[in-house]
């Protein structure tokens, strides 16, 4: 017979898990340092300058990708403009051999990670595969079914620790997707197995059209970790200094064997959910205007100038770099991808089944019979 002891019922230690009552902020909206937070040492100015560079390039990439949808070069693009601090800090906080588990909205993070932008946009341009090699880049395919990748991150992180490696996994997730069961299962699994995962919730206020208040009644999404025994924090997602500081601590926490960490970044999606969305139906211009005043790039630039590490020439050099990045992307996206229909049958199984070989043969024969099938179809259309 077991009895429940006093200590079994105690919730001592729970406060350690609780997020700050207000989001951590190290830069105010004008880009002035707000003083220090002992738990989150501010990154060096050199790191912040590098962060600035990646954010400027990231935004230029994002604007370019949005333009490419208008030109019909991309089937769809979910913009992350306004969320630069979240996306860039996450990939700057990890090592090259750490893994990231992105969603469709993390294209900018992947570019900041150094993945070729054309590869990042492969899927969105209408190709059938994720574009990059996940193993070589330590980056899972951008995930569309909401929250499902968070469980993969937990499993991978645990698998790495079983094999004696100190790899950390960062799982990105939006505010809406925190309602999905998989997210809760992932946080719980990671906690139970002390898997080194950082869950980064980018609370950009909307899940397509649905505002946060209709998604959850919790005071903050950061509280979602506490019930699972996971240390959690909320941070101003438009404050690049705080974002990098908090993400670094979260990664360090995970890497040093303390289990998962959950970060809620309060940010805002400046553009539509995707080009297919009409945000004027569900949010008003004043709201967008107010968030424009908290722009993470303006804030960081103001800080770097005041700290004397960035001047006009430096800013101009970064802008020029971003422009040439965009120009190169435009040129390379100017052609249709070269797709081989026969390859579709090759990666269903390691070795195709008899049935797949038969089907591939059928397509090959069809292609041979009508080598100019596409041209013919277009003519019919006219």
């Amino acid at each position: 017979m077991t009895t429940t002891s006093e200590s079994d019922l105690s919730t001592r230690g729970a406060t350690r898990l609780l997020p700050s009552t207000d989001p951590v902020r190290l830069l105010d909206e004008q880009g002035r340092r707000t003083g220090d937070d002992d738990r989150y040492p501010a990154p060096s100015d050199t790191d912040l300058l590098e962060m600035y560079r990646r954010m400027v390039v990231g935004r230029r990439f994002d604007v370019q990708a949005t333009a490419l949808t208008k030109q019909g070069r991309l089937a769809v693009y979910p913009s992350a403009r306004g969320q630069e601090a979240c996306q860039v800090s996450a990939v700057m906080a990890v090592r090259d051999d750490d893994w990231v588990f992105p969603t469709y909205r993390e294209s900018m993070a992947l570019v900041a990670r150094g993945i070729d932008p054309v590869q990042v946009l492969t899927l969105l341009r209408g190709d059938w595969h994720c574009g990059y090699d996940p193993v070589a880049t330590r980056t899972a395919p951008q995930c569309t079914p909401l929250a499902t990748q968070t469980v993969h991150a937990a499993g991978l992180a645990y698998g790495e620790s079983l094999q004696g490696r100190d790899t950390v996994a960062v799982a990105f997730i939006g505010d809406g997707a925190t309602s999905e069961g998989d997210f809760h299962e992932a946080v719980n699994f990671a906690a139970v197995f002390k898997a080194p995962v950082v869950f980064l919730v980018q609370n950009n206020r909307y899940a397509i059209s649905v505002p946060l208040a209709k998604q959850t009644a919790a005071p903050s999404l950061a509280y979602k970790g506490v019930g699972y025994g996971v240390e959690s924090e909320q941070v101003d997602g438009n404050d690049p200094v705080a974002m990098l500081a908090v993400m670094r601590r979260a990664v360090e926490h995970a890497r040093s064997g303390h289990g998962p960490f959950l970060v809620e970044a309060h940010t805002y999606r400046m553009d539509a959910h995707t080009n297919a969305d009409d945000p004027t139906r569900y949010r008003d211009a004043a709201e967008v205007e107010a968030w424009a005043g908290r722009d993470p790039l303006t804030r960081l630039e103001a800080y770097l100038r005041s700290a004397g590490v960035l001047d006009d020439a430096g800013a101009e050099a970064v802008r020029a770099q971003a422009e040439s990045f965009a120009a190169d992307l435009r040129t390379r996206m100017n052609t249709d991808p070269d797709l081989d229909p026969l390859e579709l049958f090759e990666h269903v199984y390691a070795t195709p089944t008899t049935q797949l070989l038969e089907q591939r043969e059928q397509v090959r024969a069809e292609m041979e019979a009508e080598p100019d099938a596409e041209g013919t179809a277009e003519e019919d259309h006219r």
Binding site: W99, W128, H129, C130, D133, P134, V135, A136, A140, P141, P145, T148, T150, V151, H152, A153, A154, G155, L156, A157, Y158, G159, E160, L162, Q163, T167, A169, G181, D182, E185, A186, N188, F189, V192, E343, E346, H347, V348, Y349, A350, T353, T354, Q355
Partner: protein
Amino acid sequence: MSTTFAKALNTALRDAMSEDERVLVLGEDVGRLGGVFRVTDGLMDQFGEKRCFDTPLAEAGIVGFAVGLAMSGMRPVVEMQFDAFAYPAFEQITSHVAKLRNRTRGAVGMPIVVRVPFAGGIGGVEHHSDSSEAYYAHTPGLKVVTPATVEDAYSLLREAIADPDPVVFMEPKRLYWSSADVELPAAAPPFGQAVVRRRGNDVTLVAYGPTVPVAIEAAEAAREEGWDVEVVDLRTVVPFDDETVLASVRRTGRCVVLQEAQGFAGVGAEIAARVQERAFHSLHAPVLRVSGFDIPYPAPKLEHVHLPDVDRVLDAVARLQWDDEPDTRWTRGLDGHGLTGAGLGGVA
């Protein structure tokens, strides 16, 4: 030495774990308890809690976690406690386990085995006897395997664990306690190869998993009525062995497909279609299906009504005495005989 089906599975896991450190077993109650069917019995003791462990109660979590484990280089074997409790994991299975190889253009394989105790005949209460193989077989990227003999329980599970692709390994619950004189490790033909369990010249009876013993029994009984029935055990539904099935049907000229699952849109429908597409001129009669009814799996006291038995198979075999006045005979013959009418289209 007599070995049970469950013991063969247990030995397969044990041998695979001994040979390859990357093999992990996870699921609900697989550790201390050894699984509700004891298939993982003793594995935690032998290999430790890092190799065989209990997870929180969350099926999507279990399978999604296995996806991450596989990405880190492990070879997870996952136990779903019962067929109908695998449904919460269906999304992970179809969207990720089945597709990651494809989505990554071959860079990330998913060497995961999802073990599913399935089908009925053990008097289970609701949600404990579903035949869910068609859901998985309908998903490109998955292999679907269902052993019916003790040798196959061992050899197919070993092969499933060694396979570079994900395998949904469907264990017929009612066979767990069946046994045979088998020395393990047992060797058997590989995935994608059906096996003729009983030779015959008049009718090909195609079965898999839980219905294989029924098919063999029916074939024996049919001999008394003058029918020489050949029984083909698919062993793997995916990959499907067209060759063995078609060679048999071309020889016998008649085909009955037997499955325990509900008939509509099931695996039997696929087999019947393939046979008539490819062996039409060899057929003396339409391909018939004998299956469970299109109802949720019934309560224990009524499962005998649902489960296709020897009599129902014999009725189907008798109906294959095709003559030149098919339509009337056909329609008449269907009444009350538990044959699946679903595939008959306008005829019935």
